[in-house]
Symmetry: C2
Subunit: 710 residues, 2 copies
């Protein structure tokens, strides 16, 4: 109570917003610009007034102190300077005078642990702000929240008055980046760690080895990276540097060595570890391949023992990921020695053989002081209870594991490479489906989740755009209360966060024009470039695994990622807005209660877009082979524009579109979609236009349906 009085909140309090989608309304009611917080804190109370952010901004740090907090302040000031365009240098002030008074109670663990206290409270009034946290982890989260509060206002840069109490819903909120299929340079990882810090994710899962590459330097087995990485690997200094970089941001680093499958790259230098004699080359193709370690070979365990020991000294985290997924067993079946071993040890299946292998490896991991994490497949009968299951299969698998006493992480639904919308990722909850029915104790075993960026079709140039901003929606799912589910609010806040992430150097927005310019060519006229962009703005890459299925030539790791499908956004904002508007128009076109001109305005907006699309193909001249590749989707967009304009015409004349005409138009749209699909693209406005055409054929006027005219 005293603290509250001191901060003057009792009188100033406006409404209480338990985290929800109510910001916009609250903002209007309070005459305060609603802050776009993401992830939404667990409790936010909006006060009145605001705290000005100007050149005099000062801080005071009290309580526990350490160099990491000072570095966090440096980042904070740097980001504050970028966001505001003011050159703010750190000013320390007395606790009684500081603009932002920070109190950290105690140190966090020397090596960050699962389940540490990450909570914080943040109180802002017109004269100052106060951030309290149990540990530096909470302090750093609170600083990120503060940065999200800063925005332009009528009087300058400011943060609205608020009281925030916040802590994460799940203790494990991760991002996995596959650095093996396409190597990701250090700078890419660093800026993504910056992004993770901004949205309060706390685990970087570093997928380090694959058929296509063994990326960590091993001094004990230098042939592993020396022959298995094409020279693209992380030195031990770099790994240590990245771990420090992550620790500075409250992020644990969990390395993954995917065995016994997914390991061709290991065998280039060490064919004796494989179940077939080899020789091996670094795999260039994508897919699931036969090579697998030989579980019957004692040398395999000796090498793993030494390697895990070497890596355990580099990675301080308690957890160590051994993969374990997608062993097809073909090499095992073909090897008589392995077959004999299975008989001898009464291992009736390859699953049982893998369980034997996993058990041996798990002991090695334990010996080196670590706890195993593995994909679903490692969970077989008899596996020790301390392992953690990362589920690509889903909530049912997760729930079963939890019931059986295992801790688990959800990644199903969070595969960023599948190209889903943010809304679709956002809808996936670790405690939904079968997991919703777990007991409280069992639910505790669901530690959280991880988004996964598999890298068959991403490289350093476009990977940021495949992670962000959608990853912010997943971060919110894992941090915020389960009740935070409003999708329009999420999109609005994600857009604001996406802008802020750019100040960190993430390239998820800047990459777009640059890649389009390459496609259009240096000699494209402004009009030609605009036409390419118009097309690109409303297409998305095909979803899920359709890209592999539709490719005319099998892609490999040597395939350039310079096509339109690589350049377009995974979520077309312009296409989505058109479809939303089409829905809104269809829902309201016969209503009598709309304001004058509102319907006309919608029609005008729809018509404007449709006209641009219909005419765009005529403008798309180019001598670029990369533009030529999308000539068919461009014609498809034109057809979709024409079909939509036809439907609008019917509405305006209140003349029902004939069934034949509608059928023809819908057929053209479907053809356009199918043709674009073969170029691995989806024409997003097709969905909205189909609805318009169907409605026009059903009842173009607002009277009861007329009998068919043909």
């Amino acid at each position: 109570m005293e603290k509250m009085a001191y901060w003057g909140w009792k009188k100033r309090l406006g409404m209480v917003l338990v985290a929800s989608g109510l910001w916009a309304q609250a903002g209007a009611a309070q005459q305060v610009n609603a802050p776009s917080l993401m992830p939404m804190p667990s409790s936010v109370q909006v006060g009145s007034g605001s705290l000005a952010i100007d050149a005099n901004f000062s801080v005071a740090l009290t309580g526990h102190s350490e160099a990491r907090l000072d570095r966090a302040m440096e980042r904070f000031y740097r980001q504050l300077s970028r966001q505001t365009g003011m050159t703010l240098a750190r000013r320390n002030a007395d606790a009684s005078k500081a603009t932002l008074l920070i109190h950290t109670e105690r140190a966090s663990k020397p090596a960050q642990e699962l389940g540490e206290d990450e909570s914080y409270s943040l109180e802002v009034i017109a004269t100052g702000a106060k951030l309290n946290a149990a540990t530096p982890l909470g302090t750093m989260h609170g600083l990120q929240t503060f940065l999200q509060l800063v925005d332009v206002s009528p009087g300058g840069f400011a943060t609205p008055a608020v009281i925030i109490q916040d802590q994460p819903r799940f203790p494990w909120r991760g991002l996995m980046i596959d650095c093996a299929r396409h190597f990701m340079p250090m700078e890419v990882l660093k800026r993504n760690l910056d992004g993770m810090e901004a949205v309060k994710m706390n685990v970087f899962h570093w997928h380090l080895s694959e058929n296509q590459g063994f990326r960590p330097e091993s001094r004990k087995f230098p042939k592993l990276h020396g022959l298995g990485s094409d020279g693209l690997y992380y030195t031990q200094e770099e790994m240590r540097e990245l771990i420090e970089y992550a620790r500075d941001r409250g992020i644990r680093v969990v390395p993954e060595f995917d065995i016994p499958g997914h390991s061709t790259a290991w065998f280039v230098g060490h064919p004796e570890l494989a179940s077939d004699a080899g020789p091996y080359e670094v795999e260039r193709r994508w897919g699931v391949f036969d090579p697998a370690m030989d579980p019957t070979n004692e040398k395999v365990y000796r090498v793993l023992d030494e390697l895990i020991g070497e890596m355990a000294k580099i990675f301080p985290d308690r957890f160590f990921h051994i993969g374990g997924d997608e062993v097809n067993g073909k090499q095992w079946d073909a090897n008589p020695k392995i077959q004999a071993f299975k008989k001898e040890h009464r291992l009736k299946s390859n699953e049982a053989l893998q369980a034997y292998f996993s058990g041996r490896v798990q002991k090695l991991v334990t010996k080196h002081g670590k706890t195993v994490v593995g994909w679903d497949e490692v969970l077989v009968e008899g596996v020790p209870k301390d392992i953690v299951i990362q589920s690509w299969r889903g909530q049912a698998s997760l729930a079963k594991a939890a019931k059986d006493g295992y801790r688990g992480l959800l990644s199903n639904g969070y595969y960023l490479d599948l190209g889903w919308s943010a809304a679709r990722h956002y809808a996936g909850d670790p405690l939904s489906g079968d997991a919703a029915n777990l007991s409280a104790e069992q639910q505790q075993r669901v530690l959280g989740g991880e988004s996964c960026m598999w890298s068959e079709y991403v490289n350093a140039e476009n990977v940021d755009s495949r992670i962000w901003p959608r990853n912010a929606a997943i971060a919110e799912r894992l941090w915020s209360p389960q009740s935070v589910t409003d999708v329009p609010s999420m999109y609005q806040r994600m857009e604001a966060e996406s802008q802020r992430l750019e100040w960190l150097g993430l390239t998820h927005r800047t990459y777009y024009r640059l890649m389009l310019q390459r496609i259009a060519g240096a000699n494209a006229t402004p009009e030609e470039f605009a036409a390419l962009k118009t097309l690109a703005d409303v297409v998305e890459p095909v979803k899920d695994y359709a890209r592999q299925k539709t490719t005319p030539v099998e892609a490999t790791s040597a395939t350039p990622l310079y096509r339109l499908v690589d350049a377009v956004n995974l979520e077309s904002d312009r296409g989505r807005r058109f479809n939303e508007l089409a829905d809104k128009y269809l829902a309201s076109r016969c209503r009598q209660d709309l304001a004058a001109g509102e319907l006309e305005k919608m029609v005008e907006q729809l018509r404007s877009e449709l006209t641009i699309w219909q005419e765009n193909d005529l403008r798309l001249h180019s001598t670029s082979f990369l533009v030529a590749e999308v000539a068919v989707p461009s014609k498809g967009l034109s057809a979709i524009g024409a079909a939509g304009l036809g439907a609008l015409e019917a509405f305006l004349k209140a003349e029902r579109m004939s069934d034949a005409a509608a059928k023809q138009q819908l057929g053209l749209i479907d053809s356009a979609l199918a043709d674009a699909f073969n170029k691995q693209l989806i024409l997003i406005p097709a969905a909205g236009v189909k609805k318009l055409v169907e409605a026009a054929a059903s009842n173009a006027g607002c009277a009861p349906p007329a009998p068919s005219s043909n």
Copy 2:
């Protein structure tokens, strides 16, 4: 002849293009996409066919070899990878098999010198390319030309077949960046050196000291940077690093220590060097100030002797810039000791006193093995002939110096901070005006020129946008034959080069959206942001020194650079294109020989832009103080849109606009311009709209002018 036959050129030669604006036509005639070379080489012969650039691209280096050439190849491969989106790793091949065969005859000088051989020849046919150069300097220039040849084509990435012979017109082609008024971090300088290499500039003039900051670390006089830089200075390691970085790119580094004026920052730590006792603080304001070194104080020369000696060891270049500009003499006049000295030495004016000072300093510079460069003011009677004059005053001053036997550089006309169009910079030639009449021997003394980026109103965030792409036009002026003057060709090629420069990390295009987003605020809707961008797209900052004159509050080095004037492009492409279209329409509207619909298309384009502008102000909602600042220019744009639509209306009806109506509209436009000017902005389409209105009032139809209707 043998070489030509070997390369098969004799039969393949198409037309010869001595560098000019004829690319587009040549391209069409040859069915080859015309390459956008900038600066234009002195001789280009376009052949037929093209050389494919694919994953097999290989190189061979013959002749002289050195590590710098290897690093140049690394950069070349990196840039080629970025431009093409292919992950190209360096492949070395036998000379007989390499895609690109490079021959460098001999080493260049250990420290790059003025006037070294920078020539190269480049020959490309369908089966390979050959680059020959006398020295690594020419080799590196040729590699940049090769990169500019690479573009998308119908069959993939390729370079057209060409024979290029190239060498610079002037040996001194520089860019000066003022790192004193606003400190520029190393990464900013490095990426600008990358840009300089791309356009074949060869001198980085590092403006290191000013009233507002002393930026180089001095170990002999640590108070200079210690008290005179606010902690923002370059360590000696960083300076050496930058010099190496520049040398790797064929760029000399000339440091400037501006004395005896422009030196307040020196006096913070060493007030005893000044002509008034002080004390001094780092200057925060902009302008010309009183503090100046005391030319009568022997300690001044002892300190300069040691400091120049210290810096001469760091900077290997032969030239050393001592500034010398804008001494107002007030401190000298006010100091009785200095007055006595003048009398004693018969120095009749402050100019004579400064000449005495310059002479003393020149001897010190010579003692340390360097040659003096100074601004116009250092050229007074009796100054030794080996100094180089950098002219901010213009060609007349340059010509006079050359006639008197002095070497000179032109910077007048190349001040990037004045916000001129690329075309205006491009029109300035070092050998025009008085300099055109120099004898051949005298013209030899005109070494070239330097663009200057004074930094009162730029910082690390927007400086790239104030240098690029316009600096490429200046680079062309200094490299290419004097006959290369076609402005439309320059703009077309500059646009292509501007795109390529982005791959080097220059932020001259990406900064724009980010700064606009900050201005709009994180919560701006897409419509609000679009409205801000529509306004921003057609305004430019006021030119020349109008910004100082119009500012309501005096700007200082602490003033944030986050306003719209800081964010908009220095040259509005959209505004320029509108004005060009208005001109074209007015010139053709009464012609009978246009293709059907052509006039209508122009009208439609004009109307579309004018309508957007007229309506834009209604869309510009915001709670941002930075948007509120431009409310008046926004209304002005609306008025300009309305005026233009009125004129179009008159043309379409063929009814002359009344004088009264025209006068009113022109008055509104002038008011809009004046109001915007007070916000330090120019509404670019106003010029085109004024012409439309004037034409509509003169004769809206195509008949002979009718008598006035009012």
